[in-house]
Amino acid sequence: MTLNKDHIGGLIFLTIAVVYGYFAHDIRMFPGDQFEPFNAQTLPIALAWAGGLISLVMLATAGRSAEPKPTLVNLDFMLVGKLMVLVWLFAQALSWIGFLAATILFLLVGYWLLGERRIRTLLLASIPFAVGFWLLLAKVLDIYLAPGKLWQLVLGA
């Protein structure tokens, strides 16, 4: 039997429903809440059951589905992975080097990853944009943007 998209989707959601249902029973309640018609566990448990049942129906009917076998050829997972890592690094950099420097680096690396190699374009499309956006936020809209722990450590400010 070959797995099609519906089989995989059904299995994923069945797992989600089982795990969600397991933790739904772990939700703490106030004493006596279990005798109330509605408590903090009611909806999560109902959702876990509903999700599980629909997943099972999906798995049962997946064989008849017209959904093709998933193909992963010609998909650039490597580049997407790099971009996701870049976004994650941007999140870390924000608190260490501040918004302005993090933005410049994010844009520079982002353009580079997507194939832009001209130094002039890389710099012109990142530094003026980042500085302009930072000025708009910090000076025009008066939004406080923390300068970054690293500068505070180095400069002692």
Partner: protein
């Protein structure tokens, strides 16, 4: 009602709010033009900006962006055969052939006039229908609300197309599951937080919307290697005349009027949205046309362009009816607006036009202004705005990524939100690859809190009995409609209606609208 209209007019014509309409339409047009980015992404990208504005101005800006994005999508459909969003896919059927025949200017003008007609007729009906429906819904009780939300969620699944009903239902449940993360609003008990303090307030809808739409759309484009595609060259000097002859106007006027009315009605249905309205209006118009014109459909028929354009704009307006009167979003885009209104502390629903008449009426009136702005400002500027499409993808994609993540960061100033976005985006990409629609999840997430509150009230009032579902005739009627909506795809297939919708549903599954 007239007092309300006057209040709305006063708010809508405030210079700042007019500026918001203009800015919204421009930004929306630009974002909507970018292939892959539709109204949902456009409105989601605007949310962080609206947090600094008062509710009326914020919602007016978002409504302008919505219209602009639908209009912008039409422009790229006509000029480069690359629909900016799913609701303008049909526009390309006859719009692009017209452009190839050297009549791009005429096609753009016709699209703008028909969008204007659709939007105007839609706004006028909304002006009358919304307060009437809101007055009726003032008598609604918790059980009715719960039933309405069930109807909204099942309707989304029902309209999701052949083979997609189970997937849409699963995604709706997934959205409801995500909505339970955080502190329970009724008991104050944390659920599914696993001791993480960042999850105590739950996951913000903005984060979810950005991660599953704006960010995921861009990442999907990168995944498929679309960033390497050669940009289609556009010769702006050969747009041709933007004038329509009297005969042409006579030919398309009834089409625009019919499609506007039809589009509005489809838009009102929860979950149907602009895409389905555009496809159905196109199909109906093709069937109604005389044989000579029917044969031109797909090769540059003016009616084939007028019908979807009028219908999708009227449907966009129609989708505001359930949002403003019942608090139930009619489409993915209005779901995002619902989230934004809730973030403002405004509860959309029957009390909106009593408690916040300035928001209710100014949104309706500014929709009309939005249409005027699109017609008199955007249309002449289209050749210039289109030049922005020349920005190379390797530059554009990191900028969209940056705006998406910064939009979320600037609301919470918590880098954990960006990390969570990465996780959700990765999950969204895998679900998209498995052909799971995203809009039902967002609707489930947004309606989850309200649904739980109303279910809890109804169950407590009925002492734990499920009889509340059929004791009140109104609740029973709405629940019956919900069951009917769920059965609709099965009935449709049995009765042979499936053929009509297959194509439109396939496109609508992309979730924009």
């Amino acid at each position: 009602m007239w007092d309300g209209i006057f209040t709305g007019l006063t708010t809508a014509i405030a210079p700042f709010n007019i500026l918001m309409v203009v800015v919204g339409c421009f930004c929306g047009t630009f974002i909507g033009m970018l292939p892959g980015l539709g109204p949902i992404s456009a409105v989601a990208l605007m949310i962080p900006i609206t947090y600094g504005l008062d509710p009326s101005s914020g919602i007016i800006l978002m409504a302008g962006v919505y219209y602009g994005a639908v209009f912008g999508g039409s422009t790229s459909s006509i000029l480069i055969n690359a629909p900016g969003c799913s609701s303008t896919v049909v526009t390309a059927f006859d719009g692009y052939p017209l452009a190839q025949q050297g009549q791009a200017g005429k096609a753009l003008a016709l699209a703008a006039y028909c969008s204007f007609t659709g939007g105007t007729i839609g706004a006028l009906i909304l002006l009358v229908a919304a307060p009437a429906l809101a007055s009726v819904s003032l008598s609604f009780q918790s059980s009715d609300y719960f039933a309405l939300m069930v109807l909204g969620l099942t309707a989304v699944a029902a309209f999701s197309g052949k083979g997609q009903v189970l997937k849409a239902l699963l995604m709706t449940i997934f959205g409801l599951m995500i909505a339970t993360i955080g502190t329970d609003a009724i008991s104050g008990i944390p659920r599914f937080t696993f001791g993480n303090i960042d999850l105590i307030d739950g996951i913000s809808f903005l984060l979810l919307a950005m991660a599953t739409f704006a960010l995921a759309e861009v990442v999907m484009a990168v995944l498929k290697g679309e960033h390497k595609d050669e940009d289609v060259p556009m010769d702006m000097s050969s747009l041709g005349s933007m004038k329509l002859s009297k005969e042409e106007v006579k030919q398309v006027a009834p089409t625009a009027a019919r499609s506007s009315l039809f589009g509005f009605l489809v838009g009102v249905l929860p979950g149907a949205g602009a895409t389905i309205a555009a496809f159905l209006a196109y199909g109906i118009e093709r069937n109604l046309s005389p044989r000579a014109i029917k044969e031109k459909f797909g090769k540059g028929a003016l009616r084939g362009l007028a019908a979807p354009e009028a219908a999708n704009n009227a449907a966009s307006t129609g989708s505001f009816v359930p949002l403003l009167t019942l608090g139930i979003p009619g489409s993915g885009t209005t779901a995002i607006m619902l989230g934004a209104l809730i973030a403002y502390g405004i509860q959309p629903g029957p009390r909106l036009f009593v408690d916040n008449p300035e928001v209710f009426w100014s949104v309706i009136i500014s929709m009309y202004f939005g249409n005027i702005v699109l017609l008199i400002l955007n249309l002449p500027l289209i050749p210039y705005i289109s030049r922005l499409l020349i920005i190379p993808r390797p530059i554009l994609i990191p900028l969209i990524l940056f705006f998406s993540i910064t939009g979320v960061y600037l609301v919470s100033f918590n880098s954990f939100d960006i990390e969570l976005m990465v996780l959700i985006t990765v999950a969204a990409i895998f679900l998209r690859l498995l052909a799971f629609p995203m809009a039902p999840m967002l609707l489930g997430f947004i309606l989850g809190g309200m649904m739980e509150t109303n279910l809890s009230r109804a169950l407590i009032i009925s002492d734990g009995s499920l009889a509340f579902l059929w004791q009140r005739p109104l609740t029973a009627l709405i629940m019956s409609l919900a069951v009917l909506a769920l059965m609709l795809p099965v009935l449709g297939r049995l009765l042979g209606f499936g053929r009509l919708n297959t194509e439109s549903m396939a496109v609508a599954d992309k979730g924009e609208g």
